[in-house]
Symmetry: C2
Subunit: 140 residues, 2 copies
């Protein structure tokens, strides 16, 4: 788990300001278990700071995801996202998501690396979204 100091440094390195709401958000994220939704985070935050705003939380989660400080995965097309602090790998990667318990595991494979030029039909500036859903060992 990264330290608060490391996280702060990463914000500054990426030109994001160290605001009160961001610092509190980081503290709360450090205390929360693996994967949590924006609403869960907001609730926990609101217990500590009545002035917390859901829109600010979402904007900051987005901003932090943008600088790879957090990972974000989509739970089956419902507009529900899960966020977690990057605990070890900050490189680009994807996820395996359990359809039963919601457990998320890292997947060290990016399909973009194996696509051929023919597949890509002259598209450039590529990014991809890739998530694998299934049942984990304990949910089979």
């Amino acid at each position: 788990m990264p330290s608060l100091l490391t996280l702060k440094g990463k914000l500054l390195q990426n030109g994001l300001k160290l605001t009160k709401s961001r610092l509190l958000l980081l503290e709360v994220l450090l205390e929360m278990p693996g994967w949590v939704t924006a609403s869960e985070i907001y609730k926990k935050l609101a217990e500590r700071d009545k002035a917390a705003h859901f829109s600010t939380v979402c904007r900051n989660l987005d901003a932090m995801t943008g600088i790879s400080l957090l990972c974000r995965v989509d739970k089956e097309n419902n507009g529900i996202y899960y966020y977690a602090l990057h605990d070890h790998k900050l490189e680009h990667h994807h996820h395996l998501i359990c359809k039963s318990c919601g457990k998320v595991a890292a997947l060290d494979f990016c399909p973009l690396n194996v696509l051929s030029a023919g597949d890509l039909q002259e598209f450039s500036g590529l990014e991809c979204r890739f998530e694998v859903y299934g049942y984990c060992k304990s949910c089979r």
Copy 2:
């Protein structure tokens, strides 16, 4: 482009009833260009039938996507989905999506086919979501 008769047959084969709202939805989809949102479809439908309901449209788009009669792609995590009638391929496939004009192209490659058992960490019952975003030839 499939015929209305073919589409009706596909609904029945999959145990979906031929209701008035589904038939009108298919007619409208046949008249619409490539990729459209649920809202766009609803608007067009409402012009013809004042009694059309947005929730019914969404449910039917989902149902038709479920039986591979439509494709659905997500435009960059905003909860905006695009749908199109499957014009040629009903097999499982993914999409290339232009970040500028929204153009969608089929991608005949599924990452699940090249993942190793080690990558999958004993997950079973796999499905995947895979979309590639980039700029198409004319938007470079």
